[in-house]
């Protein structure tokens, strides 16, 4: 039986503005499936996105949605979550939005361990503005702002999340809807800051300049680059070069921020 997405979609906004074959469509399907699996109703969640192609996500999902300035999703999400700790706050950001202009917010949100699910669509590029290189663009890639190849080394989003204190960190790709749905579901269920990095294809503005100009081929390339977290320990290190390690990379228990605040308020009120 086919899955019915319509309960969560703003059907009058379809079709999406994303390019044909863009991985963000699959990401949206996975988010909706994970919300369904978790029993999250339309009035129980807010989708917050920033600027970039991923920023459009908030227009399409039928709940209270918020489309913030570039890189600022997490501060808005933090304020919203603190005002309504009982609701799910889901942030959909991109590699430029969360790793470059929003990098400071990223590390501090993870540090606080506030119950926000952050989904970072990593397509290695600023797709919406025409394919400029981002903090996750692999070295020696081509971009309009790197006409002779990129010099800079790339961020590993999941390593950043773990180092900053996020208590649930996972990676998946748009090439495997089932796995992606599962990672997002686990992120939604986790109490604390969850970061799910989603490798996505921008064949139009990244792939075209970097040997992956067609969506099916680029998605296949992503699929072939995946190595499951469960098997990395038995693989020689050189086999992990250029690969995406997918799965739950870390899950820890640490007090969640809004729960801690509620306890703190109780304590202060008791003492005064």
């Amino acid at each position: 039986m086919s899955f019915n997405y319509e309960t969560y979609l703003r059907n009058d906004k379809m079709p999406t503005q994303w390019c044909s074959g863009c991985g963000l469509g699959n990401l949206m399907k996975a988010i909706i499936r994970a919300m369904t699996d978790c029993g999250i109703g339309n009035n129980d969640a807010s989708i917050i996105s920033g600027i970039g192609c991923s920023g459009r996500m908030s227009s399409y999902i039928d709940c209270n949605t918020l489309h913030t300035p570039h890189g600022r999703t997490l501060p808005y999400a933090t304020g919203l979550k603190l005002s309504r700790p009982d609701k799910h706050v889901i942030v959909v950001s991109g590699d430029g939005d969360s790793m470059a202009i929003g990098g400071n917010h990223f590390i501090h949100t993870c540090r606080r361990n506030i119950d926000i699910t952050l989904i970072v669509a990593n397509n290695f590029t600023y797709g919406l503005t025409g394919g400029q290189f981002s903090p996750t663009t692999p070295a020696n890639s081509w971009a309009p702002t790197a006409p002779y190849g990129t010099l800079e080394p790339q961020f590993d989003i999941c390593e950043m999340a773990q180092a900053s204190g996020a208590t649930f960190v996972a990676r998946s790709t748009v090439a495997n809807l089932k796995h992606l749905t599962e990672m997002i579901r686990l992120g939604l269920e986790h109490k604390g800051t969850s970061v799910v990095e989603v490798i996505s294809n921008c064949h139009v503005n990244f792939g075209r300049r970097n040997k992956h100009p067609e969506a099916p081929e680029m998605v296949n390339w992503i699929r072939q680059c995946c190595v499951d977290q469960d098997v990395i320990e038995v693989l020689p290190l050189e086999d992990l070069e250029g690969k995406f390690v997918v799965g739950v990379l870390s899950k820890k228990e640490r007090p969640e921020y809004t729960a801690q605040w509620a306890k703190f308020v109780e304590k202060v009120q008791h003492e005064h």
Binding site: S58, N64, P75, S83, R84, W261, V268, H272
Partner: protein
Amino acid sequence: MSGNAVIAEAAIAAGCRFYAGYPITPSSEIAAVMAEELPKVGGVFIQMEDEIASMGAIIGASLGGMKALTATSGPGFSLKQENLGFACMAEVPCVVVNVMRGGPSTGLPTLPAQGDVMQARWGTHGDHPIIALYPADLTEMYWQTVRAFNLAEKYRTPVILLSDELLGHMSERVEIPDASELTIIDRRKPDVAPDQYLPYDVKTELVPPMANFFEGYRYHVTGLTHDETGFPTEDPDLAEAQLRRLMLKVSANADDIMEWEEDGLADAEVAIFAYGAAARSARAAIAELRAAGIKVGLFRPITIWPFPEAALVKAVSHAKALFVVEMNMGQMIREVERGIRDVPIVGIHKVSGQPIDPEEIVLTVREFLEGKVTLPQKAVYQMSV
């Protein structure tokens, strides 16, 4: 009680239950009092990673239904402009305090100035409405803080509460009103079914009702130019209609928003225009000049934006001269000039980080009356003191 503490106390009395901030002199005491008091009333205090984040967090909290405050000073106010523009555009009520210090850049962190009055008006990009209040004593600070929240809720817009290092760190006797004396305004919620709700309606009223998130009204909030449902549009008619309504909701309600003080202007041969801490210097100078038989009066805008131009023109048009006293290089004086056509305007400006000494005003007024300052009609003469 210090001016900064007064703001915090009044904010809580006004119903503020969320504060996000970042440490900055000379506003930090506001955060300190909020950190102490908010948990007692079940509110939320959070120190964010930077000024940008603090502004973002109060917008998020306001969308969730809380009255929210942040406080800062010049350098932080610059950083807040991005998200402040979002609050204007998306019509999210919130209050931003700017305790002004000397600038530009890091400037004079512990010393007073009034250099951000134009930034309060035009700091964020694009045409946008703004309300800015600037009290001159600490009892008034209390009332204007409450009023800032009320105006934010009533007009669904950010309100800037201006202060300065002098007011922020000074102490004086403050008459704290009883809670029963305060009028508290809350945002108007929609009374239609969710599928009928137009969060940015341009046709029926200037300030459409505001639904909080998670209450069944599932709308979209964006900084993009949007239609009446909140979704992005590039339709020229809709874009123009939205921005015109946005501006009009403040300008058409200016009579409700504007407050000012006129003191001793009826018989005044010389008028002084001053606001905030500079108005305190002006008051002292006026008392001395009056004691010497010179008839001087004060016009003091309490609402800086929208600017009470018509009231100013009416109040000072009979004066021989209008002295504009500011702790900046001459900012509001340009606004004064736009309205005043037939009265010579003399600027008294000081940017040393020191308050304006009333004697400096007295001396300038006396020199003018003795004819030592010759003024071409309608010209602005700027006197450095």
